[in-house]
Amino acid sequence: MAASLKTPIKWLRRNFVVIAGLLTLAYMILPNVVVMVFSFNKPNGRFNYAWQKFSTDAWQDPCGVADLCGSLALSLQLAAWATLGATVLGTMIAFALVRYRFRARGAINSLIFLPMAMPEVVMAASLLTLFLNMGAPLGFWTVLIAHIMFCLSFVVTAVKARVMSMDPRLEEAARDLYAGPVQTFVRVTLPIAAPGIAAGALLAFSLSFDDFIITNFNAGSTVTFPMFVWGSAQRGTPVQINVIGTAMFVIAVLVVLGGQFIAGRRKNSASPK
């Protein structure tokens, strides 16, 4: 009797970490499952919060709601430009910080760190005061400026981590083999730094695409996708929002798995068999 009770307790104790970890994972994925399930709902009123009836209507007509796909296109466009801007500027800063010793390094490090250590609403509000004082018309450009600003620090951190772990002897070797500075950079430095730059760019894209708080302050009457979702939470959420949420999740999983597959194959082909 005692033994039969002891075994499951023992088993629970031994596997505590695995069980607790998997429960956390379930907590993280639960809303995504709900979003997916409710993308097949046929709601009875304006709000898609209670299950009514299975239907694929929304999947057949994802753009069937006014302004939804327009806001989605705008967000994608914004995220693309913000990623480009933040990745170029951030990579330059990261290389300067890792590769060169110069004065004001400490001050510059703090300037990079501070935007990450600041509540978003503070940055959003202060940028708005600047734009109001300058009389800048709020819209696409003010949002793009804001997005590049807050993505920059994250790109610098991601690229810095990669460049710091680079072996400088590889570049020395390239120089010993008579490669010019440009050739060394393009053929040796850039390929090694590429995963860090890619990680930074991916981070910038998702941060910019998903940002609500800073955009809400500085967009004026421009409506990005998160702002559309926010508005619909008050007016009534169309099922199409769940369709797009599900599609984003599936695409993200495929992209990340694909990236790891490529990285894994490259590692295998690079290592001597």
């Binding site: 940028l127 998702s206 979702v229």
Partner: protein, 306 residues
């Protein structure tokens, strides 16, 4: 000393020119990005500081009058929202640490060949817009939904209501719902730094602790946890700071009784158009967060983390 130690003669103009150009490279690399941050991050803070000591109205215009009273008025009127923000953000951070640590540990040491899959499952939910995911919590916590039903049957909600976390047998529009949403939204920011620092730990240290007759619990307490401190510190900061300024969870999952300071700043700025008060509130929030972060980093002894 040998001859090679003699200072090199570098008076040739071309060499000199090249070295000057080389010395300037880092500055050219830094210039555009740093300029961007100075103009669109630092300068706005200056503008906001000046706005917070202005007086006036939208029609008559605002003037700097060094009216520090705004700060006291803002604090006197909105201190409950400040306290609530810090309380909710703090609770969410502790919950994130308690929930996130086992998962980060699982990925770092136990997942084996499943490691990449689990990592993808941690990162991927990120990519569904966080507003959509937060709205999904409205469905999960809905009145009459399975979660509320089960908790009511088990009389859990009676206990939480008695503690003041919920109200009248429901979850939506209660502090518990807001904290649940905050915890959920910032969990990845806790897990990823924890995972990074756990992954760096040499597995042989665990073996060594075992060889020295340490139980698994002692090994964790004396070896694993102290070595994961950098991850704990950066995870806590990455969770607490954005959670303290967040107003999305409080607005979507809470009620007027659960308003956080972010909501107040937002409505003062965008609806009431009382810029001085909004600027003062946002400055107070910034000061509180920066002070708490500094003290916390001093205490945990990882100032060189940044």
């Amino acid at each position: 000393m040998t001859v090679t130690d003699a200072p090199p003669v570098t008076t040739d103009p071309p060499v000199h020119k090249a070295s000057t150009r080389k010395r300037l490279i880092p500055y050219w690399l830094l210039l555009p990005g740093i300029l961007w941050l100075l103009v669109f991050f630092a300068l706005p803070l200056v503008y906001q500081a000046s706005t917070s000591v202005q007086e006036g109205s939208l029609e008559a215009g605002f003037k700097v009058t060094w009216h520090f009273q705004t700060y006291w008025n803002a604090l006197a009127e909105y201190w409950p929202q400040f306290v609530r923000s810090l309380l909710y953000a703090g609770t969410a951070t502790i919950l994130c640490l308690l929930l996130g640590y086992p998962l980060a540990y699982l990925i770092a040491f136990k997942a084996g060949r499943w490691r990449n899959l689990v990592l993808v499952l941690v990162i991927a939910p990120f990519f569904t817009s966080f507003l959509i995911r937060t709205l999904a919590w409205k469905t999960i916590l809905a009145d009459g939904g399975p979660v509320v039903d089960v908790l009511n049957t088990l009389h859990v909600l009676d206990v939480t209501s008695w503690l003041g976390w919920t109200e009248g047998g429901r979850l939506l529009a209660t502090p518990l719902a807001v904290v649940c949403g905050l915890t959920y939204n910032f969990l990845p920011f806790m897990i990823l730094p924890l995972y990074t620092s756990l992954e760096r730990i040499d597995g042989r240290l665990h073996e060594a602790a075992g060889d020295l007759y340490a139980t698994p619990a002692t090994t964790f307490r004396k070896v694993t946890f102290p070595l994961s401190m950098p991850g704990v510190v950066s995870g806590t900061l990455l969770t607490f700071i954005p959670a303290a300024g967040d107003y999305v969870n409080a607005e979507l999952l809470g009620s007027t009784d659960t308003k956080m300071v972010g909501s107040v700043i937002q409505s003062q700025f965008l609806r009431v158009l009382d810029y001085p008060t909004a600027a003062a509130l946002s400055f107070i929030l910034m000061a509180i967060v920066l002070i708490m972060v500094t003290v916390y980093m001093r205490k945990s002894g990882t100032e060189d983390l940044v």
